[in-house]
Symmetry: C2
Subunit: 327 residues, 2 copies
DNA sequence: CTCCTACCTGGAACCGGTTACACACATCAT
DNA sequence: ATGATGTGTGTAACCGGTTCCAGGTAGGAG
């Protein structure tokens, strides 16, 4: 059905080998022949079959991307960073959501291998070391780290610290940390770091658990103030949870930031739009995605990496859910 | 490097053909042989190469998905619907963001073909008819329609109508419709339908333009009340824009919903979490994605479709950005 | 007039699966 | 005994590219 290289060869009156050489600018090809081939390609609207190419070369133009859940607004930003960078370099993405499930991660890793992907970007907690070395394809971790693997991530400890300090500077005395699922490493790190700072400062600290998802956030928000009615500062594990808590605060008649200050984490796009604007710790998600893609390409092209791990800075974004310093 | 079918064959003491037959449960295979092959597969941890398979069969297990921008929270929900359904049936997704750009749509369509995808789900405005028939692969439109192609979408006219009616029922008298980019068909349809209802009702109507993106929404929000300070009802083209407008209303000292009522469109997850909760027209995004995937698989398996177009119902979700009826 | 080299091209093998076909053997009815 | 039928298996061709290698021609050097 689709036109093949041999169709083009016939049309141009040459062999398939010659067409291939013209296509790839490899080996010799007379100028006239090249012209004829190019014309034939044009005429037949020929596009080489990547599958065939991939089979022979043992490598495709495909890169696998595993994210926990694209429905969580932090991850699409990562994904676009990865995609935009890779697209420019001729690669395409096979994408999979893992829901943080080991089984699904493995499943996708498996099928990536089956499709001869040349590289993988993944937000996964387990290194899957044997498997990864088995399939022998470069991988870059995104938003996660393990010792052995290249990784791009934002400084979670600094983020946690920053959130806690800014909260203290702004005068909250009874602070509730909304802790996300501690199996998710970066989330755990934020928590530890915030907690430590608050403890040392000697303020009253509560720890309250929540899922990271919309439903989970909503559910846990509804009982926060029953447990800790005197909370005057909230450190949320991500912006979604922060928005949910902010809602609950306002719903229960508390003023933000006068009665309760709130700081989120991530700086997803919506955080700027909600009212009051959400103060948060920004992770440069899009840039992280780009950087991961860049590093992956370097590995694919056998270039040496300056550093295995690339830690990007976080940043406190001051909006209206916190008071001005000194007020 | 990776183990091939011939490695397995050697290990099991049979030919590659036999292994293939066992693998695919096609043709005959003695029980003992089958056992030996299965053992060898296990032992060598063999996974068949999808690329080779795909080359011979002229069809892969890959499906292409084109979305305008996964960074817009409406689309990840669609994407997960598609992915979850397809994954269960053994298919994987190649994904691409088009930014509503014709050029990028074509580019992705092209590379999908090069990778022997067996089907495509796409949110695109142009039918690309010649191209699509060229590449001879079933396609299902998602959140978009053209006459000739199968499509899954929500009833935009009904949505627009509903939003307008609910706003009128709740007593707003000077209503501003925030109109999105009219090149995007569903967005245009919402607008037309709302506009028509409001006009007929004889209330004062303003039309104010905005992009659908976060930045665009933020930008246009900032001048809304300079243009139409007496607006007491806002019909937004999507929830992001609605949230931005709600922010601006509150920022300028207006109470929501007492002074200004706001209705969004989409019902993205965050709409439930913002304060006040955003009343909106719900599109069942996840279900739309699933449905599109289901229809695509039917087409792939040559089953007949009951209907070319599948229109899903929209629904008014009443939260706190609108007043109770009669107040 | 050789010989060497650079240029140009096609045949064939290969990547790793699938499948058409041929062949071998056993069983059973005639 | 004869052949039809059903099992079980291997050989080889094929999918559509890429690349190795061999062979042919032309031009320049010796």
């Amino acid at each position: 059905m689709a036109t093949t290289i041999r169709d083009v060869a016939k049309e141009a009156g040459v062999s398939a080998a010659t067409v291939s050489r013209v296509l790839n600018n490899s080996g010799y090809a007379h100028e006239d022949t090249r012209k004829a081939v190019l014309d034939a390609i044009q005429k037949l609207n020929y596009r080489p079959n990547e599958v065939a190419r991939s089979l022979y070369k043992q490598k495709s133009k495909l890169i696998g991307l595993i994210l926990p859940d694209i429905t969580n607004p932090f991850f699409p930003a990562l994904a676009r960073g990865v995609e935009d960078y890779l697209r420019e370099h001729g690669y395409r993405l096979i994408i999979g959501n893992s829901d943080e499930q080991l089984e699904q991660e493995i499943d996708y890793l498996d099928t990536f291998a089956q499709h001869n992907v040349v590289g993988i970007v993944a937000s996964i907690n387990e290194p899957h070391s044997d498997m990864l070395s088995d399939l022998n394809v470069p991988i870059v971790l995104l938003d996660r780290t393990v010792e052995e693997l290249p990784a791009v991530y934002a400084d979670q400890f600094e983020g946690g610290r920053l959130a806690a300090e800014k909260m203290l500077e702004r005068g909250s005395k009874e602070i509730t940390i909304i802790r996300g699922p501690i199996e998710v490493r970066p989330v755990y790190q934020r928590f530890v770091s915030s907690f430590q700072v608050l403890r040392q400062a000697g303020v009253k600290v509560h720890v309250f658990d929540s899922k990271l998802s919309f439903e989970g956030a909503s559910k846990s928000a509804s009982s926060l103030f029953e447990f800790y009615p005197n909370t005057d500062g909230i450190l949320a594990c991500n912006d979604i949870v922060a928005v949910a808590m902010m809602n609950e605060a306002q719903r229960t008649g508390r003023k933000v930031p006068e009665d309760v200050q709130i700081i989120g984490f991530d700086d997803i796009s919506i955080s700027e739009l909600v009212y009051p604007g959400l103060s948060t710790i920004r992770q440069p998600a899009y840039e992280m995605g780009e950087k991961a893609a860049e590093i992956l390409l370097k590995k694919i092209n056998q270039q040496v990496l300056d550093d295995l791990h690339c830690q990007l800075p976080v940043q406190f974004i001051e909006r209206q859910s916190t008071r001005k310093v000194g007020e």
